[in-house]
Symmetry: C2
Subunit: 113 residues, 2 copies
Amino acid sequence: MSNSTHFAKTPEPPYYAVIFTSRRTEDDYGYGKMADRMETLATGRPGFLGIESARDAEGFGITISYWETTEAIAAWKADLSHVAAQDLGKQRWYEHYEVRVARVERAYGKPHE
Amino acid sequence: MSNSTHFAKTPEPPYYAVIFTSRRTEDDYGYGKMADRMETLATGRPGFLGIESARDAEGFGITISYWETTEAIAAWKADLSHVAAQDLGKQRWYEHYEVRVARVERAYGKPHE
């Protein structure tokens, strides 16, 4: 996802994380363009806090989006553009994926620890 | 982390996730060997459920470890071998990192959705 700035600037917990782990197929079929479009759309949604993403050379990737509430997550999951992208993801782009919705309870880091 | 099998086989929620996002320095100083050793040690800890990891070509990485309880997470954080690795991480290996501890409340995926 090319417009990620990598580290998400999230507020003090609690907030929510959607952890998406995936292995890509070799089928491109507009994947990069769709991923960028979905990230842009997500970023504009109410309750969106940030996104972090990494994919290794073997096609295994992790994307985490952060949200204020579970309602914001449910609304984004049901967004019609996103539903179409999810369908293509299942059919063409991902041979395997896992989605986990989690409540972030504690956070710390460097340099601001 | 070379001994990852990529997808973690986690049980039905609830359980906990430690989300570690990082940007590496260019200082190797035994990083790969230590990362492998920490993953092996974590895997043997009580309450450990699995680990998933991806790092892109630019040095931005996400590692998520899954645990049964917050007590298991705290015990692993305080393990003396791990404390030494955390110190080296802060001093040499990571120019920036964030740690988020989250309670996984819901999970689904493909192929088993």
